[in-house]
Amino acid sequence: MEFLAFPDTGQIIEHMDAKILISAEHLHRYYGHHCAVQDVSFQLAQGEVLGFLGPNGAGKSTTMRMIAGTLAPSGGRITINGTDLLDQPRRAKADIGYLPEQPPLYRELTVDEYLHYCARLHRLARAERGRAVARAKERCGLDDAGRRLIGTLSKGYQQRVGIAQAILHDPAVVILDEPTVGLDPIQIRDIRGLIRELGERHGIILSTHILPEVQATCTRVQIINQGRLVFAESMDRLQQRLAGNTLLLETREPADADALRTLPGITTVESAGPNRLRLVFEGDNPADRVAALVHDKQWGLRELALDRRSLEQVFVDLTCSEPPAGAEEVA
């Protein structure tokens, strides 16, 4: 049983009692007559990393921009760390670190100059600025790039400067719009690590259309399609949903399908290639019984695995069909 199950269940701490950092209620946004975001509501607590998924033009960036305060919603309320963003924008924005889709970089400044300027914009005290800049640079791996002109940096480094800018003032809420675009695999790994690390103390929203990224970093997932939230669940609940009810079995010798079918719980056995079988079961996962049978009959166990639906499939299911049944689960 231990090689199946849901590996992440135990690791994800429930944050039910944690502080609510973002609360968005019934957000609407119209561009002329076109409705880009329609009745989106969600909350983000401290210690959560919320993954915002959606196809292009679904309203991800629009929602992020509204939460960051660079775009006013046509309707709805946003509360950041207890402060209403629309009534007291300055106080609310002090708690936000925002990396837009296009990193807001002044190409003609050096990295140090730029970060010091951002520190000043966020009203950090003079003594604090140097430390904040040094810390942000260290976290984003920019230690040796301080004196370089931003315009001459590669895309990946520019992206890192953008992230450094967003976390510089240690904000309660960090909003990252596609943070790993243009990074190489090692940088992506570093940034994901950074996001997880930040996620322990802050609340993070990140948007992406890279699905494994969500699986690697997020504690909660929301999928937005055509301006509506179509899916919102915690990562462990999602993992359960993804688990499905199919086992894949591969043996050295051809296995006897009829013998397998007699095992309690197994409903269907079908071939999935040479020496591979797909076992559909109901109720409890019968993997231990399957393994025991294979051992007894000496078929030679090569592989026995739960056939997970990938997040990708869920994503495609949700975004390519009409508003699905999952919609009512949205809080």
Binding site: Y31, R65, A68, G69, T70, L71, A72, S74, P89, R90, R91, K93, A94, I96, Y98, P100, E101, Q102, P103, P104, L105, Y106, R107, E108, L109, Y117, C118, R120, L121, H122, R123, Q165
Partner: protein, 250 residues
Amino acid sequence: MILTIAARELRTLFLSPLAWTLLAVIQLIMAYLFLSQLDTFMMLQPRLAGMEGAPGVTDIVAAPLLQTSGFLLLLLAPAVTMRVFSEERRSGTLSLLLSSPLSMTDIVLGKFLGVFAFFLLLLAMLALMPLSLYAGTALDAGKLAAGLLGLALLLASFAAIGVYMSLLTEQPVVAAVSTFGVLILLWIIDWSGGERAEVTGLFHYLSLQTHLESFLKGLFSSADLAYYLLLTLTFLVLGIRRLDEQRLTG
């Protein structure tokens, strides 16, 4: 906070060749004009010496110099103000300011002060030329000061109009052309010889140029001061409202 934005604006200006080029070009043209004006004065001087209440060196050299530089700056100011907001919007850096804990007023005033500081620097360099006359002539300091003040006020209104125009578009060139259009229109608006006195009077009042002229004559009138301050303030308020509105329209 306003000063932080202003300082960066000014710094960015000097990081591009534009600011240096502008300073050099204006300095060169004005120097040439200054010398030719000085030449005129030298020629006239023997005749002026005998006259009662004759115009002095300030009237003949400094005033025309300042007047011309006012017009010259009108031509060149749009080049400075055009990129203030449009460039930031194009490169996406505006969202840095918008997501920072700043009010719209902070942002617009910061930008305005940055540009205005550059204009003042330009003006200071221009002022050095007439001031050099102190060495050998009896310069009318009051008259010169009034003229410089008038020019500074004129430049403040250029900056405010330019900043506002830059908020209207993402294309710096479009911003420059429309700024130029507004400035020229305000400059020549009193040229229309209307039939009715009240219409002419209104146009006369609206003109950027007429108010500068009285400053150049050494006349410090609060009406002229109010005109420039109102003009500047109007466009700054429009700018702040425009920036706020852009968050609504996207």
